[in-house]
């Protein structure tokens, strides 16, 4: 019978003045510089807005994955992940900053979306049919509604969870559990529509009923990977040692594996059904990505987003060796970025990928500002929901 592990909750903070505490400031500077450089380099070009869109979507999908993680956690009354839930709450709590980062997309509406050109709509009966939905005004209103919903939920859950650190009030858990169900419904509908608005309508003639699910699967894979990286980084810096254990990483690894397979399933289902029926108004989207310089990227996605992580994440030993799992997580984040790039860029560059400086500066800009916010949230509250009723369960569970 081994003695129980004692964990002093007082130590579960990012120590003030540590390297980790300075990161938000560094990120903010990087973000501002990146944004300024992007504007300087790409002012007036379509490339600026497309690159910004990809970078924005990367951070948005991470934040939405975080929100999903938190909501599902409460809805299912999960116990295992309480130790990492605060990190997810922090990432979801940064959604309001994404609303600001969305403004350049609105500014570049005309450059990004073909359906926003009145002369194009006038000449195209299909665009006229969609005009009640795909028009600038309604698009803007929907965007506002999405951010109000997501930002509201993210902030609500973070604040309530934070309050529970002080009060230990069980009713907070009950309340958050009760609204998680309806919140998930709103989440599903809003994320699907946002995916249609911001990504699918880049090619306004094309449509796919499973597209919302496809983007959602990318959100979850990327966020779980981010959570692995964040948890490992903070644990390494001494912040959560003893709290986040190899059991948590094992579970996160299982989720990474499961959602990688899910992503592949949805991606293949979408491709396969369109390939098989061979109807030109549907195949045009894939042809643009297969019959051109984009083919290597498509193959890279199939191999790098499915085959490699499938075999890499399958063995139990890899999921239980944190450095290896972190390597896998970084890979998944990179390949998710490539996925988003592959979704968006072929509308601008039909012949093949043209990766340029603007892609880098916009990425630094958006990532910097987003992670500055996340980092700031992480440093200003406990790393773990200290008085969550299920925290002891999370700390002591063991995997198969």
């Amino acid at each position: 019978m081994t003695a129980p592990r004692v964990i002093e909750t007082a130590r579960l903070h990012v120590p003030a003045g540590s390297g980790l505490a300075r990161l938000p400031l560094v990120a903010c500077v990087v973000g501002l510089l990146g944004t300024a450089a992007s504007v300087a380099l790409g002012h007036g070009t379509r490339q600026l807005y497309f690159s910004w869109l990809v970078a924005f979507l990367f951070c948005l999908t991470l934040a939405l994955g975080a929100l999903f993680f938190v909501l599902v956690h409460f809805a299912t009354k999960a116990g295992w992940g309480v130790a990492v839930r605060r990190l997810a709450e922090n990432v979801a709590g940064a959604i309001p900053v994404l609303a600001l980062l969305f403004v350049p997309v609105l500014l570049g509406l005309h450059e990004l979306y073909h359906w926003s050109h009145p002369e194009a709509v006038a000449a195209d009966p299909l665009l006229q049919a969609k005009a009640p939905f795909l028009n600038t005004g309604f698009f803007g209103i929907r965007a506002v509604l999405y951010f109000v919903l997501w930002g509201g939920l993210g902030t609500l859950y973070l604040r309530a969870s934070r309050r529970q650190d002080d009060s230990g009030d069980e009713r907070i858990t009950r309340g958050l559990t009760a609204i998680a169900g309806p919140a998930l419904i709103a989440f599903a509908l809003s994320v699907s529509l946002a995916a249609i608005d911001w990504i699918m309508s880049l090619d306004p003639h094309w449509y796919s009923t499973v597209f919302g699910v496809y983007v959602f699967s990318g959100c979850v894979v990327s966020f779980i990977s981010l959570l692995v990286v964040l948890s490992a980084a903070i644990a390494r810096a001494g912040g959560m040692r003893g709290v986040v254990t190899v059991e948590h990483f094992h579970d996160l690894g299982k989720l990474m594996f499961a959602f990688t397979v899910f992503w592949a399933y949805i991606a293949f289902a979408q491709f396969f059904l369109i390939w098989y029926a061979n109807i030109p108004e549907e195949t045009v989207w894939y042809l643009r990505r297969l019959d051109s310089g984009w083919l290597p990227v498509s193959i890279l996605l199939a191999v790098g987003h499915f085959v490699v992580p499938f075999f890499f994440l399958m063995p139990r030993t890899i999921k239980r060796r944190t450095p290896l799992l972190v390597g896998g997580a970084v890979w998944m984040l990179a390949i998710h970025l490539i996925d988003l790039y592959w979704l968006v860029m072929p509308t601008l560059h039909e012949d093949g990928p043209h990766v340029g400086l603007l892609d880098l500066t916009t990425l630094l800009g958006v990532l910097g500002l987003f992670f500055a916010t996340v980092g700031w949230l992480v440093t200003r509250q406990p790393l773990v929901p200290l008085r969550d009723p299920r925290l002891p369960e999370s700390l002591s569970f063991e995997n198969f």
Partner: protein, 187 residues
């Protein structure tokens, strides 16, 4: 590394000793002691898998995942090969304008057959590694052993074990808290 397949039964008049313990906790502690005492030809028995007992017995990991992976991949490769051969070599037919080697259309069967072979590997591999079916075993002579599928928790040590001695082993098990200990003859 422990031997891949469990060795066959000991010869000689005595099979070994069988000791019953009160519950999972007592069984776990007893197993740790038996493992530490250096026994190798022994086993624990329970109505359900007791958490942590594998470690308490000093067992290595099961090779089953490798068997399953190998068979699964072989099955999938075989299915893809079959489909390629049927549609490209044996009876090539252009159907609904699809290429002869229409690999997306071959994915469903490939995947299913891979899963089938993996599952067969898991099931028959497990029974093989466990040397089951084995309908006759000296342990079944014991009347108390009937409780193994109900609420009995047992440790059995075979006489082939180099450290086995009828008297001292029985005494050791009693000292570890066994509720009853019996000596079993080879059937």
């Amino acid at each position: 590394m422990p031997p891949l397949l469990p060795p066959s039964l000991p010869d000689g008049p005595t099979y070994g000793v069988l000791a019953r313990f009160a519950g999972p906790r007592e069984l776990l502690h007893a197993c740790e002691r038996v493992r530490d005492a250096g026994f190798t030809r022994w086993d624990a028995h329970s109505p359900f898998p007791v958490h942590g007992l594998d470690r308490a017995m000093g067992l290595g990991t099961s090779p089953l995942p490798w068997i399953v992976l190998a068979l699964g991949l072989a099955g999938a490769a075989g299915a893809m090969l079959l489909q390629w051969w049927v549609h490209v070599r044996a009876y090539p037919l252009v159907i609904s304008g699809k290429p002869l080697f229409s690999w997306p259309a071959f994915v469903p069967v490939t995947f299913e057959v891979g899963v089938l072979f993996g599952a067969l590997g898991a099931v028959f591999g497990m029974f093989g590694l466990n040397r089951l079916p084995m309908h006759h075993h000296p342990l079944f002579q014991s009347a108390t052993f009937e409780r193994v599928s109900d609420d009995g928790f047992f440790v059995s040590i075979e006489s082939w074990d180099p450290k086995f001695d009828a008297q001292t082993t029985t005494r050791m098990l009693r000292d570890l808290g066994a509720v009853d200990v019996e000596l079993l003859a080879s059937s």
